[in-house]
């Protein structure tokens, strides 16, 4: 056994370091190291093993260390939502309260620990929670309740994957010893001992050994009793735990008391007191001091007083330690509470801030959504508007076309009239000619050549008229076709001055050739700054020719009344001029004729409207000119006129 323990001691250096127990810092650093491992451990059983290993130190003797570790475990468990760690936290805190004598609070926390442990479903941690709770009743010597809890802990330890959970057995042994059930105590103590063998050296082993020692002591087996007490002392020598050393010595002192070896008993009582003097566990001096007082009270007054003092000090220490520790724990608790409140406040403020931020974001989002919606609606309505616009444009062009067709339809009667008249003449004159030729034949048969010649002259005259009216009808049809046909002419860069000059001469000589009596003058004034512009030269030429022909016609018309001769005071004149005006080119064709009466001024651009006598014009010239200038070239054709003074037609063409 010794050998085995020694081997374990050498191998398990981690726990051997725990061996030099004594300083709180050492316990603390070991706990911190285990806690660090716990933080990264995911496996439930391994976590349970780590939690249990906190108690391989003599942690369970220091309320503040327990409280400190409990708080750390609680924070971690709650943050991770880890019920195993949280359960261990409550059990650890409860142990702290137990040591300070606050059993009510301790029980309350143990219940939390048990509930959470059961929630976790891990048998090792459930066993641990029940076991820790059992201490409360063990301390108060409520053996039945303590046994019940330790038995539950034992059952769970058997279900666990961890095969060496010793503490339920160890505690059952202690309770059975207290209750005087030595066999049961021995049974569990042996079981516990078997389980801790492989764990290396740690504090609890000393208690198990001394418990067995006490059992043998009471059973009357002094040899075995001393053997186990020695084992316990060996372990205490390694662990150097004042608490467990003191407990071992006390057990030995009781053994010698039982066998009436008072001197030995006194010796171990003193050892037990010495072990904890000037340590946080000095309250353990209470029991041995009490025993010593009993020994000395009738024999040695000095010693009695001495141990009364120790007893009192131990009692004071116990009370003051409890009071101080409780106070400190309460203070710590209060501080923790304050920190919690502060944290809660910070969290609340953060929540508010987050809330405000989220609110702000929501408002922004809402605004963004509204803007987005507005934008989309605008885009939609834009699309609709664009569609409507294009539909309107198409409708407009359709309207223009149908207007053209409608005006053609309305004009059918007019056209019929215009064509009907020359056709009537053609028909009538040809019929008359047929009759005349028949008559002529009769006259020739009679030998009356004079009459025959007269008739023949009539026939010739009629044929001239037929020819004339036929051509007239043909011209009307040609004009109609020109009007209805859309120009296929290509635009090209054209010198507008040259074009005007060409057509004014063409018109003048054409009129002179047609009518020998025609007498008018023309004057030109061209702006040399004008550069070539992009137009359909044939179309624009026709417009200019038409305007010039009209102007010559108007200028040469007799003035007012129609029956009087031309005004001798004025020479019929036509002025053709061009001018660059910013981004436009102006072409002006002016005459000094009679002007256009106000009432017909609006009608002059309508197709088939003419002021010329029937047969002299188709009435399509200005209408065509208007279309060519406006639709064909994006320009404008306007007229200024004053009755009796003259007329000025102006073409405005954009340069680009």
């Amino acid at each position: 056994m010794k050998k085995l323990l020694l081997v374990s001691f050498i191998i398990l250096s981690q726990y051997s370091s725990i061996g030099q127990i004594g300083s709180i810092e050492r316990i603390k650093s070991t706990c911190d190291s285990v806690f660090t491992q716990l933080k990264t451990e995911a496996n439930a059983d391994k976590k349970a093993e780590l939690i249990i290993s906190f108690y391989l130190t003599s942690l369970d003797g220091f309320p503040l260390l327990l409280y400190d570790l409990g708080q750390k475990l609680l924070t971690l468990g709650q943050a991770r939502n880890d019920v195993m760690i949280e359960s261990a936290a409550w059990s650890t805190l409860a142990q702290g309260y137990r040591l300070t004598g606050n059993y009510v609070r301790a029980l309350e926390l143990h219940r939390k620990g048990v509930a959470l442990a059961e929630q976790s479903g891990n048998s090792a941690i459930i066993s641990f929670a029940y076991n820790q709770m059992g201490h409360i009743y063990k301390d108060r010597l409520e053996n039945e309740k303590a046994l019940s809890l330790y038995r539950t802990a034992l059952q769970y330890s058997k279900k666990s994957n961890l095969k060496n959970i010793w503490f339920p057995s160890m505690n059952l042994a202690s309770v059975f010893l207290n209750a005087g059930n030595l066999d049961s105590s021995l049974f569990y103590a042996q079981k516990a001992l078997a389980m801790v063998k492989d764990r290396g050296i740690f504090v609890n082993q000393s208690i198990i050994q001394s418990t067995i020692g006490s059992i043998y002591s009471r059973k009357g087996d002094i040899h075995n009793a001393l053997k186990y007490f020695n084992e316990a002392r060996n372990i205490d020598n390694i662990t150097q735990s004042p608490r467990y050393t003191s407990i071992t010595y006390l057990a030995i002192a009781e053994h010698f008391k039982l066998y009436k070896q008072i001197d030995s008993s006194i010796h171990y009582c003193k050892m037990s007191i010495d072990a904890v003097q000037n340590t946080p566990s000095n309250n353990l001096a209470l029991k041995p001091a009490r025993m010593l007082i009993d020994y000395y009270q009738n024999t040695n007054a000095d010693s009695t007083v001495k141990f009364w003092k120790i007893y009192a000090a131990a009692n004071d220490s116990l009370n003051s330690t409890r009071a101080n520790q409780q106070l400190q724990m309460m203070t710590t608790e209060e501080e923790q509470r304050k920190r919690d409140i502060e944290a809660a406040q910070v969290a609340y403020q953060n929540k508010i801030r987050t809330g405000l931020l989220l609110g702000g974001l929501a408002v922004f989002l809402l605004i963004a959504i509204i803007l987005y919606r507005n934008n989309r609606q605008k885009q939609k309505s834009n699309t609709v508007l664009e569609k409507t616009l294009s539909e309107l444009k198409s409708t407009q062009s359709q309207l223009i076309q149908s207007e053209k067709m409608a005006s053609l339809g309305e004009l059918t009667a007019g056209i019929a009239h215009e064509i009907q008249n020359p056709l009537n003449f053609v028909n009538n004159f040809s019929e008359v000619n047929k009759e005349l030729l028949a008559e002529m034949k009769d006259e020739m048969d009679k030998g009356d050549t004079e009459d025959a010649k007269d008739i023949m002259n009539d026939v010739i005259q009629n044929l001239v008229k037929i020819n004339h009216h036929g051509q007239r009808a043909g011209d009307i049809v040609k004009g109609m076709l020109q009007h209805s046909r859309t120009s296929t002419g290509q635009k090209e860069m054209t010198d507008i001055n040259a074009l005007c000059d060409e057509y004014v001469r063409l018109a003048y000589h054409g009129l002179r050739a047609k009518d020998k009596s025609f007498n008018a003058e023309f004057k030109t004034e061209f702006d040399s700054r004008i550069e070539k512009i992009n137009i359909v030269p044939q179309d624009m030429g026709r417009v200019i020719l038409n305007l010039i022909n009209n102007a010559f016609y108007a200028a040469s018309q007799p003035s007012e009344g129609g029956l009087l001769g031309p005004d001798s005071s004025k020479i019929p004149t036509v002025w053709v001029s061009t001018k660059k005006d910013g981004t436009n080119i102006l072409i002006s064709v002016r005459d000094n004729g009679n002007g256009i009466p106000e009432k017909i001024k609006d009608k002059i651009f309508q197709p088939f409207f003419t002021t010329k006598p029937t047969g002299s014009g188709t009435g399509l010239g200005l209408s065509l000119a208007y279309d060519i200038v406006t639709k064909g070239h994006g320009g404008a054709l306007t007229v200024e006129t004053k009755e009796g003074t003259g007329t000025n037609f102006q073409i405005k063409l954009p340069i680009s």
Binding site: N428, E431, N462, K465
Partner: protein, 124 residues
């Protein structure tokens, strides 16, 4: 019988003179020509009661045939001359207007000369 023909087409004169050359030759009919409404009224004023029959086109520049008809019926009541209206537009509107203004007959172009000749002879 003096007949006044009113039409803005000057060739109408030649046509009538040739169509009715036999009647003119035999002095059965006598034609006068006016080339506008104004001219016709002038003629009627200067040759009062001479024309017993007036043939007038409706569509003429200046004074229209209908205006001429209205003035004739207004100014020359005794004896009222027979007025025949001629138009290329054989529409109901013109016909109705002519009848309302007291036209004696309404002819549509092209003029059927044989039937016109019959009508004129019947009046004669």
């Amino acid at each position: 019988m003096k007949i006044l023909v009113v039409d803005d087409e000057k060739d109408v004169q030649t046509l009538f003179e040739q169509r009715f050359r036999k009647e003119i030759k035999s002095a059965e009919m006598d034609f006068a020509f006016a080339f506008s409404g104004e001219e016709a009224l002038q003629f009627l004023t200067t040759h009062d009661h001479e024309a017993v029959l007036i043939l007038s086109d409706i569509n003429m520049p200046g004074m229209s045939g209908l205006e001429l008809l209205r003035q004739i019926k207004e100014k020359h009541k005794t004896p009222p001359p027979v007025v025949m209206m001629i138009t290329a537009y054989g529409d109901a509107e013109n016909h109705e207007a002519s009848m309302k203004l007291g036209a004696d007959d309404f002819l549509t172009k092209p003029v059927d000369f044989p039937s016109l000749k019959e009508k004129l002879k019947a009046i004669h």
